[in-house]
């Protein structure tokens, strides 16, 4: 069938439908390296505007750090631009093995395998190690990439209410007749900014003979005293069977991800995980950058400590001003607005005030739980946060939501 008028109309109609529902995503052009202050064109082609960035996953502020950029340059010089190969043909360099070793050491696991992204790690890992005799029991708020990975796997899937340990226990009891049970959770939840109760989860896993899988993408590098992640925070280092994480957030923010954990599981991924087997190797320039990132954060906790201070300041500032935020320990701080249109209006007004933050609503978050997700960085200085807070307060006053309860906001703006 040719790409005729009928086919074209099929797609234009669907795109128009997204626009009319107000869920059509538009890109904004950042005309600068990633940082706490950036120049943005929105819409693309319009005049550039200087804004404070409150929506990057640049938790440790290393995305454009001079040492990381320098290491990447050196990587380019000594190991070239690309490998033109998957890992197992001729795409594994000495530096890929070195990065896998360093990640293993940092995460406190047995072995690590790099993937082109954490999305790929999550898409490939379940299918590589589980069969129809097994069951995967996932927290209902896990990242979309985990859901995709579970869909690709023949094991039965089930889920438990977000962070509800009693519900998880029920499910573990229900599935005692399976060969293997795997509890699946994010470490830090990307939309809510809370942490999985890994101490309790490990306890239940031991009681009901289950493995534990954690996607720690939003925690690796800064959660826990030395930034190793959610398992360090809860004192269960070495007890998580599989950790997937990304190099695309705190660890330099370029791209790449990994599966880290029990050595047999990592080896199974090397043999069977399709996104690993059939996708290009991580580029040398990124590998060298990531190695330098691990070096920086292993020699000092200065950056994660600063992020922790920034997060405390920001959470307190918003709470004192009368906003409703989701409680949590992470650098993800959702400001609850409940109504979808209100979240878009507030984001727009914040942008006019020079603050770049994004409003999320259904289907990204549950209906009636629209919010502005703010994210802190070690690259934020106190003056950035003070300015951002002043803008939030100004806009909050305009919409008369400061000091209001959830019910009062819903009564005024609807669900």
């Amino acid at each position: 069938m040719a790409y005729n008028t009928e086919v074209r109309k099929l797609y234009t109609d669907q795109l128009e439908d997204l626009k009319s529902q107000g869920i059509f995503k538009e890109e904004r052009a950042i005309c600068a390296p990633q940082d706490s202050e950036i120049e943005v064109e929105f819409p693309i082609g319009s005049e550039k505007k200087k804004v404070i960035n409150m929506c990057a996953n640049n938790y440790l502020g290393l995305s454009s750090h001079p040492e990381v950029v320098k290491a990447a340059h050196e990587g380019l010089d000594v190991r070239g631009y690309g490998m033109s190969s998957v890992r197992f043909i001729c795409g594994t360099q000495d530096i890929h093995k070195e990065l896998e070793r360093k990640l293993t050491e940092f995460l406190g696991t047995e072995d690590t395998i790099l993937f082109p992204s954490c999305m790929d790690a999550n898409a490939g890992v379940f299918e590589a190690i589980l069969t129809e005799q097994d069951v995967m029991i996932a927290d209902r708020l896990v990242h979309a990439s985990i859901i995709d990975g579970m869909r690709l796997c023949k094991a039965q899937n089930d889920s438990f209410k977000h962070s509800d340990m009693a519900h998880l226990e029920e499910k573990l009891q229900l599935h005692q007749n399976k060969r293997l049970r795997m509890i699946i959770t994010d470490g830090a939840f990307s939309m809510d900014g809370d942490l999985a109760k890994l101490d309790k989860i490990v306890e239940l896993a031991e009681k009901y003979n289950a493995m534990v899988f954690v996607d720690d993408s939003h925690a690796t590098g800064y959660i826990g005293k030395t930034g190793r992640g959610t398992h360090e925070h809860f004192g269960v280092l070495g007890k998580i069977d599989i950790i997937t994480t990304t190099l695309g957030k705190a660890l330099g923010g370029a791209s790449g991800g990994c599966v880290s954990g029990r050595k047999e599981i990592v080896e199974m991924c090397r043999q069977k995980a399709r996104p690993y087997l059939f996708s290009n190797t991580v580029a040398p320039v990124i590998v060298e950058g990531a190695l330098r990132v691990l070096d920086i954060i292993s020699r000092s906790t200065e950056r994660r400590d600063k992020l922790e201070e920034n997060t405390k300041f920001w959470r307190k500032g918003l709470t004192d001003a009368g906003f409703i935020i989701k409680e949590g320990e992470t650098a993800i701080v959702p400001v609850m607005l409940f109504n979808a249109k209100l979240s878009q209006d507030v984001a727009k007004d914040l942008y006019a005030e020079g603050i770049y933050a994004v409003g999320f609503f259904f289907p990204v978050v549950p209906k009636g739980q629209a919010r502005i997700r703010t994210q802190l960085s070690a690259a934020h200085e106190r003056h950035h946060l003070e300015k951002a807070l002043a803008a939030f307060i100004k806009v909050g006053k305009k919409y008369d939501i400061l000091g209001k309860t959830k019910q009062e906001i819903i009564d005024k703006y609807g669900m």
Partner: protein, 84 residues
Amino acid sequence: MASIKDTILQYVKNEYLDTDDDREITYDTPLISGGIVDSFSMVSLKVFLETKYNIQIPDAKASPEAFDSVNNIVNLLKEFDIKE
């Protein structure tokens, strides 16, 4: 003994509503299109029905439409000769 309708309604409330979630669910409440059950966690409902009524629901029949309300589910069960 609770009716099939009420058994399913009770299961849906326990399985999908958080303790602080005060949304009202009736026999006709849209579960999937209403955002109460997402297509991912719909599986536990399917497993519950299969175990409870000792049936196998083929994937083709386990559509989001067929699971979209307690009444729809009751109609689906009729196809398997599960009736009051």
